[in-house]
C-alpha cells in the first residue's frame, strides 16, 4: 500500500513537472503607469530588466505595439543602464521600436531601466505592447546567450478611464561630461581621421550632437564623424544636447597646432611692426638731412 502511494506520488510529480514553467534567471518586462487610459491621453511604458544572479552585458530586442491604438510621442533613454547603443531606440514603420545596446563590465541588478516610451492613445480598444526578437548575452567574454523570459503589457483604451496628463520630465541638468576622441583606422573612411563621442543624460536623454571645427558654425553630427579638417590644427567643439534643450560643450584643442613661424598672423604682425619702425627711422633720418641741407 505504502509502495503504491509512493509510486503514485512520484507519477503525479512527474506529470506536474511537464506543466511547470521553466524558471529563467533574467526577466525583461514592460511596465506602465496605468493599464486603462482615455483616448487622447498619454501612456508611459518602460522597459526593464531583472537579471537576478546573472551578469549580462548586451541586450537587443523590439517592442511592438498596435499602431491603431498608440502613437509614439517621445522615447526617453535617459538613465538607461545601457551605456552605449548599437541601435538607439527608434520607431520603425510606426509600429515597432528596435533597440540594441551594451553595458561594459556587465550588469547584475533588479529593475534596470532600458528606456521609456510615451505613447499617445488614438482610439478605444484593447491592445498589448509586446517584446519580440529579444537577445540577452552574458558578460563572459564569449557572447553566451542568457536564458530569459519576457513579460508583455496589456492595456485598455476607454472613455471610462480617468484622465492622465502628459508625463513631464523635469530636467535642468546638462548631459554628463565626456571626452571625444580622434581616431583613424584603415578600414574606415579610407584611413582618414574621425571623431568618436558619446555621453549620457540622466534626465531626459540625449537628443542630438553638434560639432564645430575651428571658428565655423555648429552642425548636426553623429558618431563616428569624419573630420573635415584632416590637418587637426584647429580646435574641435562637440555639443551634446538633451531632449529638454540642456547643452554640454566639450572643446578639444588642436592636436597639431601651428608652430609660430607657420602662423600667418604672427608673421604679418611682425612685418607690420617692422615696417612702422623702419618708417619712423627713415622719416627721422630724412628730416635730419633736410634740415642740414637747409
Amino acid at each position: 500500500m505504502f509502495k503504491i502511494q509512493k509510486i503514485n506520488i512520484i507519477l503525479v510529480a512527474c506529470i506536474l513537472s511537464f506543466f511547470a514553467s521553466p524558471v529563467f534567471a533574467t526577466q525583461i518586462y514592460l511596465q506602465a503607469d496605468s493599464a486603462t487610459i482615455k483616448p487622447g491621453d498619454f501612456l508611459k511604458v518602460s522597459v526593464f530588466i531583472n537579471t537576478e544572479t546573472e551578469i549580462i552585458n548586451a541586450i537587443q530586442g523590439t517592442v511592438v505595439f498596435p499602431d491603431n491604438l498608440l502613437k509614439v510621442e517621445k522615447i526617453n533613454e535617459g538613465n538607461s543602464i545601457l551605456s552605449f547603443w548599437a541601435e538607439k531606440p527608434n520607431v520603425y514603420e510606426g509600429k515597432e521600436i528596435r533597440f540594441a545596446g551594451i553595458v561594459p563590465g556587465g550588469y547584475q541588478n533588479n529593475e534596470g531601466l532600458l528606456f521609456s516610451v510615451i505613447f499617445q492613445t488614438l482610439s478605444q480598444g484593447n491592445g498589448a505592447a509586446a517584446l519580440k526578437d529579444v537577445q540577452v548575452l552574458l558578460n563572459d567574454g564569449k557572447g553566451t546567450a542568457a536564458e530569459f523570459s519576457v513579460s508583455n503589457l496589456n492595456f485598455v483604451v476607454t472613455d471610462k478611464a480617468s484622465a492622465i496628463s502628459k508625463p513631464e520630465i523635469k530636467d535642468n541638468e546638462p548631459p554628463e561630461l565626456f571626452t571625444p576622441e580622434i581616431a583613424s583606422t584603415p578600414e574606415m573612411f579610407e584611413g582618414r581621421y574621425f571623431l568618436v563621442f558619446a555621453t549620457q543624460d540622466k534626465g531626459s536623454g540625449i537628443d542630438h550632437y553638434e560639432i564645430r571645427e575651428g571658428k565655423g558654425p555648429f552642425i548636426f553630427a553623429e558618431s563616428p564623424y569624419l573630420l573635415q579638417n584632416q590637418n587637426l590644427d584647429k580646435e574641435i567643439a562637440v555639443k551634446a544636447v538633451d531632449k529638454n534643450g540642456n547643452e554640454r560643450i566639450i572643446v578639444l584643442p588642436p592636436q597639431k597646432p601651428l608652430l609660430w613661424y607657420q602662423n600667418y598672423w604672427i608673421l604679418g604682425i611682425m612685418m607690420i611692426i617692422g615696417f612702422i619702425i623702419v618708417g619712423i627711422i627713415l622719416r627721422k633720418n630724412l628730416w635730419q638731412r633736410f634740415t642740414k641741407l637747409r
Partner: protein
C-alpha cells in the same frame, strides 16, 4: 656707425626674415604635399627626426606628452612620422567633474564645490560661517596591487585614475555628478601592465549626497608561461594581487580543483602546477585573493593545453576587442564595430573581426558583448 642706421638695418632684417617665412610657407603650401611626401618617403622610418618630421620611430626630439599640453602619458610616433597623442593623458582641468591636481574650491568650484565664506567680521558684527554646499560625489576605496594604476569608469568611459599605495590600498573621489543611475567599473593594472577584470556595480546617486563605496577588492591578474605544456611538466601560473594575500588558483578541467599559494610583499604570486594528473586537452585557470578575511571574486580566466610538447606562450598580439590596436577597448573600438553593424564587412575588416571578435564574418550583438567584457575605457 650711426645708431639709427644700425636700428634701420636691424628692422629691415626682421621684415626680411618674417617675409621670407611668410612667402616661403605660401610657396610650400602650393607644393607642400609633393615636397613633404617626397621627404617622408625618403627619410621617414630611419629613426632620425629631421626636416618636417614630427618624430621618427623613437626620436621625438624634445617633444613629449607634457610639451604638447598633456599632463602625462606616452607619446608615440605614427608610421607617417607624426605625433600620436592617443596615449597621452590630459591633466586635471576645471569642469571635468573631478577635484584633483591643484584644483580647490577657490579656483575651481564646478569640480570642488564652493568655499565657505570667511567667517567673522570686524567690530562687534560677528559673522555667520555657512557650511559648504553639499556635493554630489562618490568615493571609491579598496585594494588593488601595490603602486598600481587604478582606473574608474563611469558608464563605460574613463572618469579618473589614481595610484594605489604600497599596501595596495586606494581611495579616489569623483565629484560634480548629476543625480541618477550610474554604472561604475573599477580595474587595476599590475606592474607588467596586465589588467584585472572590471569590478562593476550599478549605483543610484542622490543629489547633494556623497556616496561611499568601500571594500572594492580588485581581482588578481593572472598569466601562464606556456600555451601548451607536455603532460608531466610544470606550468607556471602567476600574477599580482595584494601583499601577502592568500591566493586560491582554480584549475578547471573536467572537474574543478584548487591550489593555494601566498603573494609576496609586492603582491606577486607564482605557482608551479604539476600537469601529471591533468588530462590531455584544454584547461582553464583563474585566481582569487583573500586578505584579512575579505575575498575578491575570481578574476580573468585564461586557458592552456596539456599535450605532447611544450610551447612557450608568445606575447599577445592584441587585446580582444581592440580594433584600432591602441591597447584599449573603448568607445573608439565600439564606434568602429558600430560602423559595420548590420552591413556587410569589408575584406580588411573581416581580418580584424576574426582576430579580435568572434570571427563569424559579421558584426552583431555577440561581437559587442565580447567587446563589453574586455572593456578598458
Amino acid at each position: 656707425m650711426n645708431k639709427n642706421y644700425l636700428l634701420f638695418l636691424f628692422f629691415i632684417e626682421i621684415i626680411l626674415v618674417a617675409g621670407f617665412h611668410f612667402f616661403y610657407q605660401r610657396v610650400l603650401a602650393d607644393t607642400n604635399s609633393a615636397i613633404t611626401i617626397t621627404v617622408k618617403i625618403a627619410v621617414c622610418g630611419d629613426g632620425v627626426k629631421e626636416g618636417w618630421e614630427d618624430c621618427d620611430k623613437s626620436d621625438f626630439g624634445e617633444a613629449s606628452c607634457s610639451s604638447l599640453g598633456f599632463s602625462s602619458g606616452t607619446l608615440t610616433c605614427t608610421a607617417a612620422c607624426e605625433y600620436d597623442t592617443f596615449q597621452c593623458v590630459a591633466g586635471p582641468s576645471c569642469g571635468d567633474g573631478s577635484c584633483n591636481g591643484s584644483e580647490n574650491c577657490a579656483n575651481c568650484s564646478p569640480d570642488c564645490g564652493t568655499c565657505p565664506p570667511a567667517g567673522g567680521g570686524g567690530g562687534g558684527g560677528g559673522g555667520i560661517i555657512m557650511p559648504p554646499a553639499p556635493q554630489t560625489a562618490v568615493i571609491f576605496s579598496g585594494w588593488a596591487y601595490p603602486l598600481s594604476k587604478v582606473s574608474v569608469l563611469k558608464d563605460g568611459q574613463l572618469a579618473i585614475t589614481t595610484i594605489a599605495g604600497p599596501d595596495a590600498n586606494f581611495n579616489i573621489s569623483l565629484a560634480g555628478l548629476s543625480a541618477g543611475n550610474y554604472n561604475f567599473s573599477v580595474y587595476g593594472e599590475d606592474s607588467q601592465v596586465r589588467r584585472s577584470t572590471l569590478f562593476t556595480f550599478p549605483v543610484y546617486i542622490t543629489s547633494g549626497v556623497t556616496t561611499n563605496i568601500s571594500g572594492i577588492f580588485i581581482t588578481p591578474t593572472i598569466a601562464v608561461d606556456k600555451s601548451e605544456v607536455k603532460q608531466g611538466d610544470n606550468i607556471a601560473i602567476f600574477g599580482q594581487s595584494v601583499p601577502n594575500g592568500k591566493i586560491t588558483i582554480s584549475i578547471n578541467s573536467d572537474e574543478e580543483f584548487f591550489e593555494k599559494t601566498t603573494a609576496d610583499k609586492n603582491g606577486a604570486y607564482l605557482y608551479n602546477l604539476d600537469t601529471t594528473p591533468l588530462d590531455m586537452g584544454q584547461h582553464l585557470t583563474r585566481s582569487k585573493a583573500i586578505l584579512n578575511g575579505e575575498d575578491s571574486s575570481f578574476g580573468r580566466t585564461i586557458g592552456f593545453s596539456v599535450g605532447i610538447k611544450t610551447v612557450i606562450k608568445a606575447d599577445e598580439k592584441s587585446l580582444r576587442g581592440d580594433l584600432n590596436n591602441d591597447n584599449r577597448v573603448n568607445l573608439v573600438d565600439f564606434s568602429i564595430a558600430a560602423y559595420w553593424y548590420t552591413r556587410p564587412i569589408s575584406a580588411d575588416f573581416a581580418v580584424k573581426e576574426t582576430e579580435n571578435l568572434n570571427g563569424d564574418g559579421k558584426i552583431d550583438l555577440v561581437d559587442f558583448s565580447i567587446m563589453a567584457y574586455y572593456w578598458t575605457g
